[in-house]
C-alpha cells in the first residue's frame, strides 16, 4: 500500500529539475553584470594602432581617468571631443579642476612623431596633469 501511494505521488509531480529558483539565480547574475558593467562612454573618433610593450601593467582604476587620443592623422581627441593642439591645455585645466589626481590615459598611434606627442605633453605639464599612462598592448616576454 505504501509503495502504491508513493507511486501515485511520483506520477503527479513535475519533471526533476526544480525551475522555481531559476529566475532568482538569473536575477542575481543579472544584478552582478549590471553593477560591474561600465558602459562605453567615449566615442572614439580618431584611428590609431597601439604600440606594444613588455612591462605593460593593468589598470583598473576607472574613476580618475581622462582619455587622450592621438590618431594616425595627428588629430587629438580628449575624452569625447576632438580638439586642436591649442586647446589641449585649456581642456585639461578644466579636467584637473574637477579631478585633482587625474591620470591621463594616452592612446597614441605608434607612428605619430614625437614632436606632436611632446607638444601635447608640454601642454599637459602646463596644466599640471603629470600622471600619464601610455596605453600599449602587452607583448609576450619570449618574443623580445
Amino acid at each position: 500500500m505504501i509503495s502504491f501511494a508513493g507511486k501515485q505521488k511520483r506520477k503527479d509531480s513535475k519533471p526533476g529539475i526544480p525551475l522555481a529558483s531559476m529566475p532568482d539565480i538569473i536575477f542575481i547574475l543579472l544584478l552582478f553584470f549590471m553593477v560591474s558593467t561600465v558602459l562605453k562612454e567615449i566615442d572614439v573618433k580618431v584611428e590609431y594602432d597601439l604600440p606594444e610593450a613588455i612591462t605593460s601593467e593593468k589598470f583598473d582604476n576607472r574613476r580618475l581617468n581622462a582619455w587622450l587620443y592621438i590618431g594616425r592623422d595627428g588629430r587629438i581627441q580628449i575624452n569625447d571631443m576632438v580638439v586642436s593642439k591649442e586647446n589641449v591645455r585649456e581642456k585639461f585645466e578644466v579636467i584637473r579642476s574637477r579631478m585633482n589626481n587625474v591620470i591621463v590615459q594616452m592612446r597614441v598611434d605608434k607612428n605619430v612623431p614625437m614632436a606632436l606627442v611632446e607638444s601635447v605633453q608640454l601642454e599637459l605639464r602646463k596644466a599640471n596633469c603629470l600622471r600619464v599612462n601610455y596605453i600599449s598592448s602587452q607583448k609576450q616576454k619570449d618574443e623580445k
Binding site: 529566475p23 560591474s36 558602459l39 601593467e57 607612428n111 614625437m114 614632436a115 600622471r131 600619464v132 598592448s137
Partner: protein, 175 residues
C-alpha cells in the same frame, strides 16, 4: 462543471514562467555590453613644468643618458640597441642597491621630434624592464616571491632600494 473546477485549481494570475526569459535577455544584454578588456600600459610621471626649463641638478655619475635620434638609440653617446638599454639600466640598478638615495641611477630619455612614438615606447619599456628585473631579483632574495605578488609595504621597501627614476624630455637643437 469542468471549467469552473479548473479555475479554482489554477495558478496565481501573474505568469511567472516568462520571467526567467526576460531576465535572461537582460542578462545577455549586459554581458555583451560589459567592457571586460582592461587597459594595459606604461605609467610615467611627467616632469613638472618650469618656464625657464632650467636643467635639473643631477650628478653626472648617476645619469644614464638615452638619446633617441632618427639614426638610432644612443646610450651615453654610444650607438646601441634596446636590449643593451635594458642591460645597462639593470646593471646600474643592481650595482646601486646598497647605496643611498642620492646615488641611485636616473635614466634620462631624450628624444628628437622625428622619432616615431613606437620607438619611444620601446625604449621606455626596456628601461622600465631594466629596473623591474632588479626589483624582482631583490624581492625574491628578500621575500622569496616575485615583486608582482608583494603587498604594498613590501613593495615600498623594494622601491626605496631600487627606485624607478625616469625623466623624459625633448632634445633641443643646441643639445
Amino acid at each position: 462543471m469542468s471549467f469552473i473546477r479548473r479555475r479554482r485549481k489554477g495558478l496565481p494570475e501573474v505568469p511567472l514562467a516568462s520571467m526567467s526569459d526576460i531576465a535572461f535577455l537582460l542578462l545577455i544584454f549586459f554581458i555583451v555590453a560589459a567592457t571586460i578588456d582592461i587597459d594595459t600600459g606604461i605609467s610615467l610621471s611627467l616632469p613638472e613644468y618650469d618656464p625657464k626649463e632650467s636643467p635639473a641638478q643631477v650628478e653626472k655619475s648617476r645619469v644614464i643618458e638615452v638619446r633617441l635620434l632618427p639614426g638610432g638609440i644612443f646610450l651615453n653617446g654610444m650607438p646601441s640597441t634596446t636590449d643593451e638599454l635594458f642591460t645597462a639600466v639593470s646593471r646600474k640598478a643592481r650595482e646601486t642597491i646598497g647605496l643611498p638615495e642620492e646615488e641611485k641611477p636616473v635614466t634620462l630619455l631624450l628624444y628628437s621630434g622625428e622619432v616615431p612614438y613606437e620607438k619611444y615606447i620601446a625604449a621606455l619599456d626596456n628601461i622600465k624592464r631594466g629596473y623591474r628585473v632588479v626589483q624582482d631579483e631583490l624581492s625574491r632574495r628578500e621575500f622569496g616571491r616575485s615583486f608582482r605578488t608583494l603587498g604594498e609595504e613590501e613593495r615600498n621597501t623594494i622601491s626605496t632600494k631600487v627606485p624607478v627614476l625616469i625623466t623624459v624630455g625633448e632634445l633641443k637643437n643646441n643639445d
